[in-house]
């Protein structure tokens, strides 16, 4: 980590601010990347766009999937997807994810939503697995030959030990999360209704990167109360100031999801050369230009 420190009277100030491009420069081919948010809510889309513009490839994605997964699939960036769903939420099915799946292009590891949480939690706690009933009897075990069960060392209600699913740890090389407000040291606040799995995603990652609607020099607790200080800087390697960075996904209370934009995106998947046109207009442009184009829509 290359955080710069300025010596002040009370010790060095911590500054981990980066641009989106500088974050992407720290990523590498074949890595396992966790992406925060949920469906079409609070996705770090400015970082996703920066990845789409880069030559990064062969990613393993771990995501409560939305357009982040769809766009990265459309651009051929994904080798393996670890998921329990991919949805645009207001529009149930993600068109580019569907296309990649139906073409047999993706390696996948499918999980129940609770298993997904436990895998990240196990990684964050440096455990090899966490046990759960979720998954027992379903086809998840048949689909994933690496997924094992574990026998409880204690007797169950019948006197015999219970067999449980052993959800393997899902360690991440890096996690990308979009928040409402962060300071330069990487402390951050999620003012949205729901922090989703973002904290545990950062905990499971060797390096956590944030994008934020608002970047402040300090004093986070003055807004929103200390219960909203969801992310501690010990989990964060870099922060990029990205106002509107979650667009077209939501970032409440700053912004709702842009449904007409998502509809345009979905339509593009049904058109010949649709992705290429979408990409030219909405990906292969600098983020500042993206923001002004969104404002002009």
């Amino acid at each position: 980590m290359t955080a710069t420190a300025t010596v002040g009277t009370t010790g060095p100030a911590i500054d981990k601010t980066l641009t989106e491009e500088e974050v992407v420069d720290r990523l590498w081919d074949g890595m396992t990347l966790g992406i925060g948010g949920w469906g079409s809510r609070r996705k770090p889309m400015s970082l996703v766009r920066a990845i789409l513009r880069s030559d990064l490839k062969d990613l393993t994605l771990v995501s409560c999937g939305g357009p982040d997964v769809g766009m990265l699939c459309a651009a051929g960036k994904v080798r393996t997807l670890v998921f329990s769903f991919v949805t645009l939420d207001v529009i149930p099915l993600e068109p580019y994810f569907r296309r990649a799946r139906e073409a047999g292009e993706l390696r996948t590891r499918e999980l129940d939503e609770g298993m997904f949480l436990l895998g990240l939690q196990a990684a964050a706690w440096r455990l090899p697995f966490l046990p759960t009933r979720a998954g027992l009897g379903s086809d998840l075990l048949a689909l994933d030959p690496d997924l094992r069960t574990v026998t409880s060392p204690y007797p169950g209600p019948s006197g015999r030990p219970e067999e449980l699913v052993a959800v393997p740890a899902l360690p991440l090389d890096a996690a990308l999360v979009h928040v409402n407000r962060a300071d330069r040291a990487g402390n951050a606040q999620i003012l949205d209704d729901d922090p989703f799995f973002d904290q545990v995603l950062l905990g499971a990652a060797a390096q956590g990167y944030l994008t934020c609607e608002e970047l402040v020099d300090g004093g986070l607790a003055a807004h929103g109360g200390f219960r909203s200080l969801d992310v501690g800087r010990h989990l964060v390697a870099g922060v990029a100031h990205a106002p509107g960075g979650s667009h077209p996904t939501s970032c409440l209370p700053d912004r709702a999801r842009d449904v007409p934009f998502l509809e345009t995106y979905v339509r593009s998947a049904a058109e010949t050369g649709g992705w290429e046109r979408f990409r030219e207009e909405w990906v292969d442009v600098p983020e500042a230009e993206y923001r002004s184009k969104v404002a002009d829509r």
């Binding site: 569907r98 047999g104 499918e110 129940d112 009897g137 379903s138 209600p157 799995f197």
Partner: protein
């Protein structure tokens, strides 16, 4: 089937009862006896069913509203239940979900992940497994199917997401002790698993629908008693309540096809 639907349509004109009202009232019944748990009906019509259950016979139900909040009977936020905390609820068993099903079989095995014989390259990718495995093994589950058809009610689902009674039984009594598929409500009928081996049974047919209609719309053999009752039609008091609970009539959109069929010659 069109004759039967026509009959309901005639009654609709006479009494104001519509297909969705019958479905909502039938689905509300699935929450009877649940007490102070999280009722989690997914979709517009199931949501009205949850509201109706709370407004009538299950006043203690907690109902998720928009996003991460529980909304009380006046629509005010009464609790915060973000995504991560929902798993505390699921794994504690204090929840009853109503899910949809892209496919369901005679034992209640459900698929909402993908259609086609090869799950690695599905013919149609759907949502994914979502929380179906964890839901079904941890707390009561019911299903709402807005179009009862042989494409949904199949001999074998392509991939088992929510687990049915045969899968649960194979796990043994300890693992299966929290598993319960309570009801399956469709646009044609109410189905349950009140048989010796928990095979799906035709519990009632909606007004204007015959047993033969349901059999024709089901891709496997249902358990059918000698006398199949008619699903109760909600009375005037319930209809008034529905007008208050769902003033925009969101419940009707999911079964609009039934009323269109009913009006066709």
């Amino acid at each position: 089937m069109s004759d039967g639907v026509q009959k309901l349509h005639d009654r609709d004109v006479a009494t104001g009862v519509r297909v969705a009202d019958v479905c909502v009232a039938a689905l509300a019944e699935t929450f009877r006896g649940d007490g102070e748990i999280v009722a989690n009906p997914i979709g517009a019509l199931p949501r009205v069913a949850g509201l109706l259950a709370r407004a009538t016979f299950e006043p203690l139900l907690l109902l998720p509203g928009r996003d991460a909040f529980f909304l009380d009977r006046d629509g005010e936020i009464e609790g915060w239940n973000p995504y991560r905390r929902m798993f505390d609820v699921v794994w504690s068993g204090r929840r009853h979900i109503v899910m949809g099903a892209s496919q369901i079989d005679r034992y209640g095995n459900q698929n909402l992940a993908a259609i086609g014989p090869d799950p690695r390259r599905p013919e149609r990718q759907l949502l994914g497994f979502r929380g179906a495995p964890g839901n079904t093994i941890n707390h009561p589950t019911s299903y709402w199917v807005s179009r009862h058809s042989p494409r949904v009610f199949v001999e074998h689902v392509d991939v088992v997401c929510g687990i049915g009674y045969d899968r649960a039984a194979a796990l043994g009594p300890d693992a299966a002790r929290f598993h319960e598929i309570r009801l399956v409500v469709t646009d044609l009928a109410v189905l349950d698993f009140a048989t010796r081996d928990h095979r799906m049974r035709l519990a009632s047919v909606h007004p204007g629908v015959s047993v033969e209609d349901v059999v024709a719309a089901t891709g496997f053999e249902l358990a059918i008693d000698a006398d199949v009752p008619e699903t109760p039609v909600p009375d005037a008091a319930v209809l008034d309540l529905l007008a208050t609970l769902d003033p925009d009539g969101t419940r009707h959109t999911e079964v609009a096809h039934r009323e269109r069929e009913g009006r066709s010659p």
